[in-house]
């Protein structure tokens, strides 16, 4: 999203809303809301009945006033002011009895719809894969869950009510007018169709303004979220002022978009109110003429004026109400983009859990290209892992090691007939079962703002403390945890005690170990752990997981040497495989690594060979001369 503020934003400022300029079809996005509103169907009906009663009550107020004036003006009629006054009081009371519950009901429905939408959003996000998260970033999703959802809420709370009110008023007031004077009623209502038509013409253009406002808000959210998440990096590089400047741009961008949307509404309001202002003139001029001609009573004038106020009020509001429709349509589009996004990795229909899977893994001719990548991350991989074996993956960065592990637990979606666990194609296993059988500890050590216990026992929070202690011990974390102020109950992560990189890594390792799964995949989980500790952990692992399958990714030969079998990767392909002994004797890449890592520098030919091999892919550079330029 970031680039949109720097480059894309400028272009957009000038060209105005970039979507189709006018259409009502955007309102179609509201159709998505129907199922959410439907469940409150009969409550809506009730609310509408309430609104009708309320509106009729209000329409009687001018009538009461008119009656009083008539009775006082005409000496032939006894003065009648007490009962009309009581009538108005009664209307107020009825309002409280009927309209309060109706409003309450409608707003509660709006809140419930908000609740349902958020729930669905969160629900759907939980099952999405990498393609989704590359497309929508955290801040953007948060903005949808809060800001866009609240647009929908405004629409249900006010938009629907206003439109309903308008329609009811339109149904009630004219008949009442016609009862008193057909001519005056016709004259009064004459401008009305023009107002409504103009309103509709204008609102057709409103959608892009709202969409862009919502998108700009999402940019503010994303920027804030990312920046605060990476605040330490920003601060370490002393880039705060720069970032504040950039935030100001983003905030200003939003301000502009919000202003444009409001300006549009203001123009609309101008047109609508100016057109409605014609009616009172007609009532008074034509009305007075009719009074003088004796066609109507004096009291009819205040009646008509009062009704006009009711009508004009809802006409003036109809612009606002329509704008709520469109902003909710924009919100709804953004919400349902997420809700309707099908997770890329899904269970086939009617999958049953398979019993007794042998913890063996076979990968046959697996290739995979990430969405939006140009080159495949892995090419034609053949890997065979026997049940109970410990296998090490070594290789240069981005050589496809992590991708394979992710493919095995279906974090990325691979074709059928490429990966088999215990002889079963993983596409035929329910994802839930697959991930239960196979525990992957990802490379990035992520801790939640939660206690050590919940972080370690994340998959099942009901485990006993002893079990958690055992896992921390296996991950060589027990001393660290025991030293924490509240032991297992100590909150770590974002708003807890700061753990060192190695401690975080071992916590996530414990999270994988506690599951005691038949297959354990460790993605370079020792990179921040010191060698001594690593040795201890691996020795423990060999004992604990003697008859279980383990795959570990490492850069260290000292780690890999413990494995039963080793695969060496480069550029998405397996380049060597064998046992430690075999590979060392073979004298290939692994042997070079081993030599360099164990400091056998005297064997210069190996080092040189290793470097030369690496060098083949490195472009010739002029690091030296440039260095003098910059290092100064």
């Amino acid at each position: 999203m970031r680039h949109t503020y720097s480059g894309g934003m400028r272009a957009r400022y000038q060209s105005g809303p970039r979507r189709e300029r006018s259409s009502f079809k955007h309102l179609g996005h509201l159709r998505n809301l129907v199922p959410y509103l439907k469940r409150y169907g009969w409550l809506f009906a009730l609310a509408i009945v309430g609104l009708v009663v309320h509106r009729i009550g209000l329409a009687f107020v001018p009538d009461f006033t008119g009656t009083v004036i008539d009775s006082l003006a005409d000496p032939n009629i006894p003065p009648n002011y007490f009962w009309p006054a009581m009538g108005i009081f009664a209307v107020v009371v009825v309002q409280f009895i009927i309209f309060v519950p109706v409003r309450r009901l409608l707003r509660r429905i709006a809140i419930s719809v908000t609740y349902d939408l958020r729930k669905r959003l969160f629900n759907n996000i939980q099952y999405q894969g990498p393609a989704f998260f590359n497309k929508y970033n955290t801040g953007d999703l948060m903005s949808r869950a809060v800001n866009d959802v609240s647009q929908v809420r405004m629409f249900v709370s006010f938009g629907l009510v206003q439109i309903t009110t308008f329609l009811i008023t339109l149904a009630i007031v004219p008949p009442m007018m016609f009862r008193y004077s057909t001519g005056l009623a016709l004259a009064t209502l004459l401008p009305l169709p023009f107002v409504v038509i103009t309103g509709f013409i204008i609102t057709r253009k409103i959608y892009p303004y709202f969409m862009e406002r919502q998108e700009a808000m999402a940019q503010v959210t994303s920027f804030t979220q990312e920046n605060l998440t990476g605040i330490r990096t920003i601060q370490a590089m002393a880039q705060e002022s720069q970032e504040i400047k950039r935030f100001r741009q983003t905030a200003t961008h939003y301000t502009k978009k919000a202003y444009r949307a409001s300006r549009f509404l203001a123009y609309m309001h101008l047109t609508m109110t100016t057109l409605t202002a014609i009616s009172p003139l007609i009532v008074l001029s034509f009305g007075s003429y009719l009074v003088l001609q004796g066609h109507i009573d004096v009291g009819t004038l205040p009646r008509f004026l009062g009704w006009l106020l009711l009508l004009a009020g809802s006409v003036a509001h109809i612009g606002w109400a329509l704008s709520l429709f469109f902003s909710a349509a924009a919100g709804s589009e953004r919400i349902f983009q997420i809700i309707s996004h099908q997770p890329e990795v899904q269970d086939k229909a009617n999958l049953a859990t398979k019993g007794d899977l042998k913890p063996s893994i076979e990968i046959k001719g697996l290739s995979y290209t990430y969405p939006e990548a140009t080159e495949p991350a892995i090419k034609d991989i053949e890997v065979h892992i026997k049940a109970g074996h410990t296998v090490a993956f070594l290789g240069r960065m981005a050589s496809g090691k992590s991708t394979i592990l992710k493919a095995v637990v279906r974090l990325v979606d691979t074709p059928r007939n490429t990966i088999f666990v215990g002889g079963q194609d993983i596409c035929d296993l329910p994802i839930q079962q697959l991930r239960q059988e196979i525990a992957l500890v990802p490379q990035y050590a992520f801790l939640f703002s939660a206690s050590v216990k919940e972080n370690v026992s994340y998959d099942d929070t009901t485990r006993e403390d002893e079990v958690v202690w055992d896992a921390t011990e296996a991950a060589s974390m027990e001393e660290t945890v025991a030293d924490l102020a509240e032991g297992l109950r100590t909150v770590v992560g974002e708003r807890g005690v700061t753990l060192s990189g190695g401690q975080k890594q071992r916590s996530t390792l414990a999270r994988g170990l506690i599951r005691d799964s038949n297959v354990l995949l460790l993605d370079d989980v020792f990179s921040s752990v010191d060698t001594e500790t690593e040795e201890r952990i691996i020795r423990g692992l060999n004992r604990l997981r003697a008859d279980k399958t383990t795959i570990l990714i490492s850069h260290r030969v000292s780690t890999a040497r413990h494995a039963d079998y080793i695969y060496v990767f480069d550029d998405g392909k397996v380049i060597e495989s064998g046992t430690h002994g075999e590979l060392v004797t073979r004298g290939g890449h692994y042997a070079d690594l081993e030599a360099v890592q164990s400091n056998q520098d005297r064997d210069q030919s190996r080092r040189a060979r290793l470097i030369r091999k690496l060098q083949e892919v490195v472009q010739p550079t002029q690091v030296d001369s440039e260095q003098q330029k910059y290092a100064g």
């Binding site: 309060v100 959210t221 804030t224 101008l270 001594e532 400091n599």
Partner: protein, 666 residues
């Protein structure tokens, strides 16, 4: 998240995280509001213009019914002999109409209609201009407040972010600021609503004191209702804001750890936990709505109640002959205008209470005292630092926890390369954090070039000390943006140079758009090692005088590391460097090694000295290079020198030649 499972959110109103917990809830609304108005200062002209326009519009709004009633009806359509005791003032409208009729040489009715149309149009355009200026002023005010809030967060110290969740602070920057919009706009609205109020009240008092008092009789009702409403509602509005904050935080963390969530099969449970927060939010919204609707309805009923009162009382007066029908008629028309501002005040208070829950949270963040101690008169650093670093008896403890550094002292000579090794959690990273002034430390404990770091501004210091953090962050944006961190002083050439030094160049060229490739949030579309290289290049591009590498190559394979090491060698020559690493191979090039254990300096010296000591370093070394024949366990200084000479291959244009030469030599 922790609490959510053990303690159901529904049952614990007060279990909000740090920061939200610190909200005092002792909001003095008026003072807070006054404070908010300070941000309007640059836009007072705009907002003032908006206010004037609003008043003009309001005056026209009063004049229009007078024109209709007094001029069109009384003067033109139904000229009547004076019957009633009271004649409504026409504020010169009759005279103006006559003047206009003379001017246009038309009849009076046409003049009046022209006048009416003119007034309506003026009113419409005044309203338009008013609403545009108001929107613009309010939006810009909030933009500034938002930027100020962001700036204040940007400068909060590390210790703040140790205990405050990002989701919570960001809610303040986004939603809480939005909530203030209605407050500013309705404030201006309400002030202007009182203009017709005072005109009308004057006219009404002039017409009939009794009736006016009857009409105003409902004001006490409104006041009492508002006071009661405030007492009840404030609590709910706060609970709503808190629960939105919880929702945001939960969602944010869940998204950050989504991979773990899915791998652990925790989706269902997380949905439940999120739903619990969601339900809590709904509960408070429901409660607030119940009272709000009641209060709103009372406010909107006020005009009807006043009308009823006036008809009731005024009807009697007409019968007794103390007022005319016309007065009663006008009163029923005016009473709406009279009551609108009063019910408007009620609505305004509703908005005020709602917004103040947000205002409170914004100002709390602005006022949060946790700041890094900055010197009042920071020492001017020389053009180029020599790069001497000294720690003198440094002790350090994080907020929650045990002593991390215990009497740590060491001295790095200018241009020296120091390695820090030690088990995880021994305090290595803490040393770096203190050197880069992420935390406050006692005076006279840490020195750079002999200057106490406490007397250097943290910004200056961090520009001179480049730290490759262990928990670096990759932002969404292009590769360029990530290396330069959007710093305009860093050229593209420099970015590419830095990438070449760390050998990141190689994979960057393979990305779809090279350096212009968009990286996903947190570098999702790169491998961990590739991300680490970017973080490394980022620091090199900034050209710091002291280079600090905190596990900068931990996720990088040995081959790539070798290349980087060689590339770095020249770069770090004569430049003070501190290198933290677990792989001893990484620190081979260092002059001295410091062994840290449980926050204490256990050993310090050259590789040979420490090996001779047969202490911790010796053991570590043995362990890592166990395959090596003991006698040849380490290279002699001569060997090291030789090696560095040889590795010059990387800096040569014609590498093949050199490599050939290298292999030929053996």
């Amino acid at each position: 998240m922790a609490e959510a499972s053990t303690q159901h959110p529904d049952r614990a109103d007060s279990k909000y995280s740090a920061f939200d917990q610190h909200l005092t809830h002792r909001a003095v609304n008026v003072r807070m509001f006054a404070r908010l108005l300070r941000w309007t200062k640059p836009y007072r002209l705009t907002l003032g213009a908006s206010f004037v326009l609003l008043v003009v519009g309001a005056l026209i709004a009063v004049a229009i019914p007078l024109l209709l009633g007094r001029v069109i009806v009384d003067e033109i359509l139904a000229p009547q002999p004076e019957v009633s005791q009271y004649v409504l003032p026409d504020f010169g409208l009759i005279a103006i109409t006559h003047w206009l009729a003379n001017l246009l040489n038309s009849d009076l009715l046409l003049a009046a209609i022209i006048l009416y149309v003119g007034m309506v149009l003026t009113q419409s355009f005044t309203n338009l201009a008013q609403s545009l200026t108001l929107t613009s002023g309010a939006l810009k005010t909030l933009r500034d407040l938002r930027v100020d809030l962001f700036a204040s967060l940007e400068r909060k110290p590390s210790s703040f972010y140790d205990h405050v969740a990002v989701g919570r602070v960001m809610t303040r920057v986004t939603n809480d600021i939005e909530n203030l919009y209605n407050l500013i706009t309705s404030f201006i609205q309400i002030v202007a609503d009182f203009v017709p109020f005072f005109i009308i009240i004057w006219v009404m008092f002039d017409m009939s004191v009794d009736l006016t008092l009857v009409g105003l009789g409902i004001i006490p009702i409104a006041v009492v209702a508002t006071v009661i409403f405030r007492l009840i509602i404030t609590k709910f509005f706060r609970l709503i804001r808190d629960s939105v904050s919880s929702l945001n935080q939960y969602l944010q963390e869940d998204l950050m750890g989504i991979e773990v969530v899915q791998l652990s099969g925790r989706q269902e449970q997380n949905i439940e936990e999120y739903t619990a927060y969601n339900r809590e939010n709904r509960k408070h919204e429901f409660s607030a709505i119940d009272y709000e609707v009641l209060f709103e309805n009372l406010n909107t009923s006020l005009p009807s109640i006043a009308t009823a009162l006036i008809i009731w009382y005024g009807g009697g007066e007409v019968v007794q002959g103390s007022i005319s029908i016309g007065v009663l008629f006008t009163f029923t028309y005016f009473v709406n205008m009279l009551i609108t501002p009063i019910s408007g005040v009620g609505q305004f208070f509703n908005t005020l209470f709602r917004s103040m829950a947000s205002g409170e949270r914004i100002f709390q963040a602005l006022d949060w005292e946790e700041q890094l101690h900055e010197p009042e008169h920071p020492v001017e650093l020389p053009e180029r630092l020599r790069g001497e670093v000294q720690f003198r008896n440094v002790n350090f403890t994080y907020k929650k926890g045990n002593k991390v550094l215990d009497d740590v002292s060491f001295h790095i000579k200018p241009g020296e390369k120091l390695a820090i090794v030690g088990p995880t959690g021994s305090g290595k990273s803490t040393i770096i954090r203190l050197l880069a002034r992420f935390y406050d430390i006692e005076d006279d404990t840490v020195f750079v070039d002999g200057i106490d770091v406490n007397s250097i501004s943290s910004k200056d210091l961090r520009q001179r000390i480049g730290v490759v953090l262990q928990d670096f962050h990759i932002f969404s944006g292009t590769v360029y943006d990530n290396i330069s961190l959007n710093n305009p002083d860093i050229s593209k050439e420099r970015v590419e140079w830095a990438a070449r030094v760390v050998n990141a160049d190689q994979y960057i060229h393979k990305l779809p758009n090279g350096y212009d490739t968009e990286l996903a949030e947190r570098g999702h579309n790169l491998s961990q090692g590739q991300q680490q290289l970017l973080a490394f290049a980022r620091v090199l591009a900034a050209n710091p005088e002291i280079l600090v590498l905190d596990e900068a190559t931990s996720s990088i394979d040995t081959g790539t590391e070798l290349i980087i090491q060689d590339g770095l060698k020249k770069l770090t020559e004569g430049r003070t460097s501190i290198i933290i690493a677990h792989r001893l191979q990484t620190i081979q090039e260092c002059d001295r090694i410091l062994v840290l254990h449980r926050g204490r300096v256990c050993e310090i010296g050259t590789h040979e000295e420490l090996i001779a000591q047969k202490g911790i370093y010796f053991t570590l070394h043995e362990l890592q290079f166990q395959d090596v024949d003991k006698a040849d366990a380490f290279a002699t200084p001569e060997d090291l020198k030789q090696r560095s000479d040889r590795s010059r291959w990387l800096h040569q244009d014609d590498t093949d030649d050199l490599i050939g030469g290298l292999s030929g030599r053996d």
